[in-house]
Amino acid sequence: MSTELEAVLGKTWKRPPFISNQLLRRGLALAFVAYLIAAYLTIDINWSRVYEGLDRGAQFALAFTNPDFTSRASDIWGGLLESVIITVAASVVGILISIPIGLGAARNIAPLPVYLICRGIVAISRALQEIIVAILLVAIFGFGPLAGFLTLSFATIGFLSKLLAEDIESMDRVQAEAIKASGARWAQWINYGVQPQVMPRLVGLSIYRVDINFRESAILGLVGAGGIGATLNTAFDRYEYDTAAAILILIIVVVMALEYISGIVRARVQ
């Protein structure tokens, strides 16, 4: 029997902890618990109000079994159509603009000044949430779908350009260089050396973004930027749960359909 073995026999064994410094480990655990308690105490839940609400919650859940598509049919279908229109237009414009910006934001094909400008645009677009952009654009352009359209186009640019740029930066250099070596111009080089490599993912991401855009378009109406959100907001304000349930079901169905289509498209391009 080796001496090392004798040393450990009869001793209890414990799994080595994730953070080896005991002080740090206990400190972090304590801080976390303290935070949770502090957070809970400041939330200030009005339990009696919540209790009253359970009733309405049950009503709402019931409304899902009996959604009302008819009594506000024109509002619902009009709103849904407007949401779809905003989604389509914003996706098309957003994707078209995001391609040059994505090219510009890829360090391996763009010169530094262009790179910085494009990265700046991407950063701004990603940092501002859709709803805040929508508020500002409604203030500037007035109520209506134009503000929603611009909002989603802007958001699409941030999303797609970033991913496209990352894709281009991580592409296979050799393939692209082979095209360059054949004496191609810049545009030809992009078309033959870069595009084939990033196209499948770009298509997949674009479809995914259409899906996101539709989901976002459902809330633009809350701030007056068009789409089904306004109808939904009105339904909640009037406690018309069955109409609200109908709208929510429609949104879920459209999102599911879009996810299904995007699954098929992505499988085909890859």
Binding site: D44, N46, R49, V50, G57, I132, F236, L248
Partner: protein, 271 residues
């Protein structure tokens, strides 16, 4: 890729005539749809306001600058609330997402025929609906306040976390699970020893990723009355107090940047 003989020359085209016709037709239909959409948007727009937009934008800009810095003293509590909404909402969502994910994953679901579809329905329905809409709904049910925000964020995050988690569960190495099963371990032990260690890194990554997103989302929940800094934003917008609005937007921007930084750091440390 067809090769056509024409006047004795061999010409290569990328597509056959039929293919290229179908291709053009598709582009035409796409263009027509876009034109229709654009026309609808255009019809619903008061173009007078749009032409006036540069003037209004510069007007708002002059009013909004400089931000009202001293207003920050009133933002402490809303920022704290925002942080709580995001953090507690994420924690609740994770607790609920774990069982849903196990029920939804093909290799761990107790019944692929009955339970899996239900779990998938929960995932898709909570994911498709924006947290602002959940907040609207919850405010109608349990009244305005931070709690509605927490619950809204929690519900919205369930589907997101559960989807990523069940995909991680479906990708685990089955042989490791087999090895644990072969020792005579029970169903729960197989889960604790064979499955959980394999998905733990993914779980931690998802948690931090979603927390980052939730910080963003909780900054605007106040717009519909669900607590946090959005309440101040909404109030300032209503009275057109632009210097306050610009300060709040700066604070939100800072919060987003910081949370993204924290999440990137933590993910880097885990993986």
């Amino acid at each position: 890729m067809p090769v056509i003989e024409k006047n004795g020359d061999t010409i290569w085209h990328r597509r056959t005539t039929k293919q290229s016709l179908a291709h053009s037709a598709m582009w035409l239909v796409g263009l027509a749809i876009f034109a229709y959409c654009w026309q609808q948007i255009s019809n619903a727009t008061t173009w007078f306001f749009v032409w006036d937009a540069p003037r209004i934008a510069s007007d708002i800009w002059t009013r909004a600058t400089p931000p009202k810095w001293e207003y920050i003293s009133q933002l402490g509590r809303p920022i704290w609330d925002t942080l709580n909404i995001a953090t507690l909402g994420t924690l609740i969502a994770l607790c609920l997402a774990v069982p849903v994910a196990f029920l939804a994953a093909r290799n761990t679901t107790p019944s692929a025929l009955f339970i899996r579809p239900v779990a998938l329905l929960i995932i898709v329905s909570t994911r498709s609906i924006n947290s602002l809409i959940w907040a609207l709904l919850l405010i109608a049910i349990i009244g305005p306040g931070v709690f509605a925000g927490v619950v809204a964020i929690a519900i919205r995050s369930i589907g997101f976390c559960a989807k990523l988690l069940y995909e991680a569960i479906e990708e685990i190495d089955e042989v490791q699970v087999e090895a644990i099963t072969a020792t005579g371990a029970s169903r729960w032990q197989v889960m604790a020893y064979g499955i959980v260690p394999q998905i733990l890194p993914a779980f931690a990554g998802i948690a931090v990723f979603r927390w980052d997103i939730n910080i963003r989302e909780s900054t605007v929940l106040g717009l519909v009355g669900a607590g946090g800094i959005g309440l101040q934003l909404s109030a300032s917008l209503n009275v057109l107090a632009w210097p306050q609005v610009s300060l709040i937007l700066l604070v939100i921007l800072a919060a987003v940047v910081i949370s993204e930084w924290v999440s990137a750091k933590v993910r880097g440390a885990i993986i």
